[in-house]
Symmetry: C2
């Protein structure tokens, strides 16, 4: 059978091993597993969310409310925008997909940092787009600008602020100055999946979606419930942009793209502000442990504005081997070899999880 030629070059995404397989394969007790690989909230789910889900479980025989009115109203209030500026996706992933397809044409070009969120490339490859990348791993706006000016016809620029999987961020004013130089036909996606963390650490990094889209008609802001709001399993994210962009994104949205329980969970999560602030507070308090450890042991790290920290290894140490050894002890972290980086990304966990990681990691130095 003949298939879509754009797909020939795509490698199928191989999911990480579920914890159950690690348990079985290495004979580790479930309570001894420390998973710091997916930037999940280490405090688990908010009690308010758990209760809301339990209450709503009896209604899953009905299709979701496809207008998503309750969640849209709550998000519009939070961000001081109109519902018409909002689209809700099955994770912000899905909004990236909508955006790529909304701008897609046979000679499409996208521009990203060398090392950034993997889904930008995957969705771009699905539509056969040319992918341009900056020479540096981290976001350097002058490099973006140089490539943009050499290729005026770039369809989408992705800025991941702060950046997954490296952790760096850019100052709002620098981003705004950059945006001033970009033409109105180039969609600029500001992926704010970790903005809650960045804003809490340094207000200069904070990008307010309403401010962004009012100043820049070609900007699309992305947010998610998977990180600070602790709903990774429920797949809820959103995009915020001017109505002109929204109207086209909606043409790609399949009906009922978010489950009824996901809508309920996200609504409850938005209401639990205590849980959110405690999660962020723990994050930066615990991150200091990693920073002190790294300084003491002369390990490079990237100043992180997220809920993870990226440790960069010197040539005498292999991140791949390190990840393998830790895995056998039940500690799951993310090796960055596949990104061309000899380093690891470690989610900031609970105090006990972080202590356990640092203790085992120290043995490898």
């Amino acid at each position: 059978m003949k298939f879509n030629p754009n797909l020939a070059q795509i490698k199928v995404y191989e999911g990480g091993k579920p914890i159950e397989l690690v348990i079985r394969e290495y004979g580790i007790k479930p309570e001894d597993i420390v998973k710091l690989a997916s930037n999940e909230n280490p405090f688990g789910v908010s009690k308010k969310v758990e209760n809301a889900l339990q209450k709503a479980a009896k209604n899953v025989y009905m299709y979701p409310d496809d207008s998503m009115l309750a969640l849209k109203d709550a998000l519009s209030k939070k961000y001081q925008i109109k519902n018409e500026n909002l689209i809700i996706g099955a994770g912000s992933d899905q909004v990236i997909f909508f955006a790529v397809n909304a701008k897609s044409h046979p000679k499409m070009k996208i521009l990203t940092a060398k090392t950034t969120f993997a889904m930008y490339d995957i969705y771009a490859k699905q539509v056969g787009a040319t992918i341009l990348k900056t020479p540096s791993h981290q976001h350097i706006l002058s490099e973006f600008l140089e490539i943009y000016e050499a290729n005026k016809d770039i369809d989408i620029i992705f800025l991941c602020l702060p950046n997954n999987p490296l952790g760096e961020c850019l100052k709002r004013e620098d981003v705004y100055q950059f945006l001033e130089k970009i033409g109105s036909n180039t969609l600029v996606v500001i992926d704010g999946a970790y903005q809650d963390f960045a804003s809490a650490k340094d207000d200069a990094m904070h990008i307010e979606p309403s401010d962004l889209i009012n100043r820049f008609q070609n900007a699309l802001y992305l947010g998610t419930f998977s990180k600070s709001y602790a709903l990774g399993g429920l797949r809820v994210g959103y995009g915020i942009a001017q109505k002109e962009i929204m109207d086209t994104l909606y043409k790609m949205r399949p009906p009922f793209n978010v489950t009824s329980l996901s809508l309920e969970g996200a609504l409850a999560a938005l209401e639990d502000k205590d849980f959110l602030s405690k999660s962020i507070e723990n994050n930066f308090k615990e991150m200091k442990k990693y920073e002190s450890f790294a300084r003491e042991n002369k390990i490079d790290f990237i100043n992180s504005f997220t809920n993870f920290i990226t440790l960069l290894f010197s040539d005498d140490m292999s991140s791949k081997e390190c990840a393998q050894i830790l895995l056998k002890k039940g500690i799951i972290i993310r090796d960055l070899t596949s990104y061309g980086v000899n380093g690891i990304r470690v989610t900031i966990g609970t105090p006990a999880q972080n202590d356990r990681f640092l203790e085992e990691f120290k043995k490898l130095l």
Copy 2:
């Protein structure tokens, strides 16, 4: 801003009004609403599913198991297939999307019955495909064959068996004879969203996925948990095909496309065989009420192999008006005017819901 030209012609899908709006707009008490519009299971969710969801609610901070191993194993056992023949989607909708994109190219053509599931067209339009339709509303294989033979290069043929929103079905042997005549480069999608109902009513309609894909390398079978399994809110469906087709569908699948609670719910639903058989038994017992009513009142109906019945009106009665009048009384059914059919589709509900509908409907005759 310039957008993907394929999207220019697409009308944004407008979801039905949530029950809450009907309540507010017409001042009807929630307990008086009878929703027979979305082919949901009128008995609500299985207790086993509800319990499984409540138990799993505390884990939604973790990303779903993207290998979906537990649900795949259960489905493979049910259908006597291998996991490699299976893909799980956010509803069978998403598998339709994967299929259209897997076969997409600039001169793509698809073929469907005149009146059938709306998503075939919507996904085809997104990729700019030409959509061919049979002259008759219902599935007539000779019409499909005639169009196929006049256009040997058709990329996908969709057979919705039984057909939503009309309810008719085709005999397995006739479908197999048709498939014998279709070339190996044409993907034939057998949408079995309502097959549980059809198989229970008449074994001659039953299509067993393993049998289908072993005989026809170019067939893709679709199933869903939204109808007989009562999980419309959770968005879980699946595709079954030979590995060659699967390998390309997987290239379109976004990671974590099914939520963790949806996976748990589907697994529990598969185990509750009693709930399934009672649901199907009620369906055909109650459908007889509709058939008797229609015969007594000289209303045409389509012999239904699903959990709904389609009533066809003569010219002196407007389905649009009928639906409006019923809505004001809190009875929500599906008007088929937008499909070019002067008729209504009514989901078979609980005995009390069906009696209420028939009582109010009779007043309009």
